[in-house]
């Protein structure tokens, strides 16, 4: 057997040194640990379907330059933080002025807080499952630290706009850490967009820890350009009676990957994970989710829908892991896929790993096409074929789109979906 190729050492040289010392130390330590990391291949279970899309060429190794300015003005209502190539642009941000809510760039943290953070970073993500999240830890140049004091409630959604300016090739490593205190509430929107047309890599990591009774709603929209590879990971740890709501919307690209790992660590914690993925042309999108029921009496509900057209490739891998002590767990997973063309491919793997007996777990997965009879029904009533296809496809995912709690994201999603329908059904 020929040796597996390893991560180029060029990837392990971080840029920007303007972080507090404890974080610089953490970064260096993660970098050392990654030396000679074998790159995923088709034989790497976790990357079975996606390794061929991942291209970590040398030109992507250097950090994208950060000019400290952001691109075109953003018409985002309410609170927002802007990352430009992985570094926060303070002047473009609008932050809430509320007691009990701390929102700070990593670069501005004082040493003691930075030391505490350095201890906690990466704790929510399994190193093996989200291998490339460690690369973010070795490379991040900035990050956003959010802490909600007990009972603090953010009155409006906080938008985190992560802009990648790919006017030259390179990579960016935005980072987010949310510490939600007891009974606090937060709605957070992560939006990933890009400009420029050079090949680029975005490696984004977000981590959430939810204390007892905390409620966090996370919306994640991945909509970068065709030149940008995106590898993202989100890690969540939940304590008693906390709730985590996740809505991921993903549009395909040359390489798109999102790892979502949730650990329900104390009784009564529950999570709901929704996801919509749309791919066309030569695009690719891979969602990997893991829900760990560590404690008894936890609930999880997961619904993912994929639509693949053209020659695209959509992947879903969902794992529910019920630990031995997690009796009385309820876990449901549903993954439905719509394959719109024969050139496209959908791979799905809904897994259950169960070590407790008094549980209710179920998963369902389907792959199919639009129902011919439904199309006929519509067409026979004078609806154009294009319209009929659009209607039925929209109906397939609308349930999830409508659940997105932030209106502006729903609108953006709808616009992108309309573009998708336009190009997909026109050619058909």
């Amino acid at each position: 057997m020929k040796p597996a190729s390893t991560l180029s050492s060029a990837f392990l040289t971080p840029g920007g040194q303007s972080l507090p010392q404890p974080l610089l130390d953490l970064r260096a330590q993660r970098g050392t640990a990654l030396a000679d990391m074998p790159l995923p291949t088709r034989k790497t279970e976790n990357w079975k379907y996606s390794s061929r899309h991942l291209k970590l060429s040398e030109e992507l190794a250097s950090a994208l330059p950060t000019s400290g300015k952001c691109g075109p003005a953003l018409a985002v209502p309410g609170y927002h933080v802007v990352f430009h190539n992985g570094v926060i642009v303070p002047e473009a941000c609008e932050l809430p002025d509320q007691s009990g809510i701390t929102i700070q760039p990593f670069a501005e943290l004082d040493d003691s807080l930075a030391a505490e953070l350095a201890e906690r970073l990466d704790n929510t993500l399994d190193a093996e499952a989200a291998q490339l999240a460690r690369l973010n830890s070795a490379r991040f140049e900035d990050g956003l630290y959010i802490r909600l004091a007990p009972d603090a409630v953010l009155d409006q959604p906080l938008f985190i706009i992560s802009q990648t300016d790919a006017s030259c090739s390179g990579s960016a490593y935005p980072r987010l850490y949310v510490d939600a205190g007891r009974h606090s509430q937060l709605t957070l929107v992560e939006e990933y967009i890009s400009s420029g047309d050079q090949p680029a890599l975005v490696n984004a990591v977000s981590e959430f820890t939810l204390a007892e009774g905390a409620q966090v709603t996370s919306v994640r929209l991945s909509a970068e350009g065709e030149n940008v590879q995106h590898v993202g990971a989100t890690g969540v740890r939940q304590q008693a009676h906390s709730r985590f709501d996740s809505h991921c919307v993903g549009f395909g690209g040359p390489m798109r990957r999102h790892d979502l790992q949730v650990r329900l660590e104390q009784s009564g914690a529950n999570c709901r994970l929704n996801g919509v993925v749309v791919t066309q042309g030569q695009q690719h999108y891979d969602n990997h989710t893991v829900i760990e029921h560590v404690a008894p009496h936890c609930d999880s509900e997961e619904t993912y829908r994929n639509i693949a057209a053209g020659q695209s490739h959509a992947v879903f891998n969902g794992r529910i892991h019920i630990h031995q002590d997690a009796q009385k767990s309820n876990a449901n997973m549903s993954n439905k896929n719509l394959l719109l063309s024969t050139g496209a491919e959908i791979d799905t793997k809904p897994e259950l790993e169960i070590y407790a007996d008094d549980v209710k777990c179920a998963h369902g997965a389907t792959i199919g096409q639009l129902d011919k009879q439904s199309i006929f029904y519509l067409v026979s009533r004078g609806v154009s074929r294009h319209e009929a296809n659009t209607l039925l496809t929209m109906a397939f995912i609308n349930e999830l789109v409508q659940q997105i709690p932030v209106e502006s994201v729903r609108e953006t999603t709808q616009i992108r979906l309309n573009q998708f329908f336009e190009t997909t059904f026109e050619e058909a």
């Binding site: 394959l339 959908i346 793997k349 897994e351 259950l352 169960i354 070590y355 007996d357 549980v359 179920a362």
Partner: protein
């Protein structure tokens, strides 16, 4: 609860009924594997040159391969050089021509197992090609089969008598380099069954083979090849028990089914090898490659299995649906208890148009066992209007057991439809209450509920197997309530 606990403890103490060792002098190779061993093996069996070449090719491929470790099982590494690769009952020069000549010790063994080998066989309507360790020693029911033109014989005999058929089909479904254990089997397989059903023939009997592992430290490497020519039909039964042993015994079998135009094969297995004692000591390693190729149009393969034995079961009976309109079915009940581990499931590979497949898998784990379903459903670009339905349910009995589901679903054709569903639950308190309230004891109630859980699969089994399977489940589940 105390009452049930006591019952449980009593029942747990019950030992494996089929655990005994027959004392027969065996002609056995010294442990170890190299090209020389394969040459000797081939020479003993008086094989033609092509077989030796084939074995050596497999052996060379095997040397280059790494032992797979992806399955959800845990066991100490097997030392392949500590295994003896050949063991035959003595007096092989004068093989018995009829049952009278068979070593009475052997017959006694079969009797203890309740195998209907002589007259009982006829009454039961079963032709038995019994494999005792490595060489087939007795074959019955040759005549009615011969009349129909069906070939049913040990594969070693087929190599001599029908070399052209063997050469054409052996390894055509599972190539020598397919996987680690298949390569090992191809290199050293000792014996097994060969079935050929000629064009247009419906096999008049249900064919059956009982396997038995006997001499200590001998790996058993069966090779089964069934070819159903155009418009033919055969139902094949495979069942096994093994004597109690403390060392783990490796079993790496290969089963190949070739199904041509309009033909149908029904392959049923009841596997009840020694699962190890209540502490997880001993037991058989069952690493099997089973695959069917539906080459012709309108062909059909149906795998039915009831797996209750073996310390470790690692097998995926698969169907390659190449012919248009071909059908693949997989019905499985896998029960694990104590420290047993099972990683089993199926692969349905749809290549032809209008192909369809059904997967019904029922996993039951009790004690400290681990039971995984791992399956692949794949639609190639040419699988127009292909269809799959998968249902895998797990039942957990006891809070220290584990049940897993790892389904892989891959689709490259938009007209193909796949549906997969899986559930995991335990025997519910309500169900138990209902039964107990009506005077049914806990043990019986569980057995009843489990039987109901598996009903969909049992109804696919041939009659006599279905009865056996129900019984087997009952015995295997004893001591699991609590």
């Amino acid at each position: 609860m105390a009452n049930t606990d006591r019952q449980v403890n009593e029942l747990i103490k019950r030992e494996y009924e089929h655990g005994f060792v027959t004392d027969i002098e065996a002609d056995t190779f010294e442990p170890g594997l190299n090209e020389d061993v394969i040459r000797r093996l081939s020479a003993i069996k008086n094989e033609p040159e092509f077989m030796l070449e084939w074995r050596l090719k497999a052996y060379r491929r095997w040397l280059e391969m790494d032992e797979p470790d992806w399955a959800h099982v845990d066991f100490p590494k097997v030392d392949y050089n500590a295994i003896s690769y050949y063991s035959a009952p003595k007096k092989k020069e004068d093989m018995p021509q009829s049952l009278d000549e068979v070593d009475p010790e052997l017959l006694k063994t079969y009797e203890k197992l309740g195998i209907p080998l002589h007259e009982r066989a006829k009454l039961a309507g079963v032709a038995v090609d019994a494999v005792f360790d490595s060489v087939s020693v007795a074959t019955t029911f040759k005549e009615p089969l011969e009349k129909a033109g069906v070939i049913f014989c040990p594969i070693s005999e087929a190599v001599q008598k029908y070399p052209e058929l063997v050469q054409k089909y052996l390894g055509s479904v599972v190539p020598v380099g397919d996987n680690y254990f298949a390569a090992l089997n191809s290199a050293v397989f000792s014996d097994g069954s060969f079935v050929y059903i000629p064009k247009g023939v419906r096999c008049p009997l249900e064919l059956s083979t009982y396997f038995r592992i006997n001499a200590a430290n001998t790996g058993q490497f069966e090779r089964t090849l069934i070819v159903a020519d155009d418009d033919s039909y055969v139902s094949y039964l495979e069942g096994c028990t093994a004597p109690m042993r403390d060392e783990n015994q490796l079993h790496a079998a290969v089963v190949e089914l070739v199904v041509l135009e309009n033909a149908q094969i029904k392959y049923s297995t009841v596997q009840n090898w020694y699962p190890g004692d209540e502490n997880g000591k001993g037991g058989i390693y069952n690493f099997v490659t089973k695959r069917a190729a539906c080459i012709g149009n309108n062909s059909k393969v149906s795998w039915t299995q009831v797996e209750t034995g073996s310390a470790i079961t690692w097998k995926y009976p698969s169907c390659v649906l190449r012919g248009d309109n071909s059908v693949g079915e997989f019905y499985s009940v896998a029960l694990t208890h104590n420290y047993q581990q099972a990683d089993t499931g199926t692969k349905m590979i749809h290549l032809g148009k209008n192909t369809s497949s059904t997967i019904i898998s029922k996993g039951i784990s009790a004690g400290r066992s681990s039971n995984a379903y791992r399956g692949l459903v794949k639609f190639g670009p040419g699988a127009e209007a292909a269809r799959n339905f998968t249902q895998c349910d797990s039942l957990l009995i006891g809070d220290r057991c584990a049940a897993h589901t790892f389904p892989y679903i891959e689709s490259q054709n938009k007209t193909a439809i796949v549906e997969h569903e899986a559930t995991t639950s335990k025997v519910s308190d309500e169900q138990m209450f209902l039964c107990r309230q009506r005077g049914i004891d806990a043990e019986q109630a569980v057995s009843m509920i489990v039987n109901g859980f598996c009903k969909e699969v049992f109804k696919e089994l041939p009659m006599e197997f279905a009865v056996e399977a129900g019984k087997l489940l009952e015995v295997s589940l004893e001591g699991s309530v609590g």
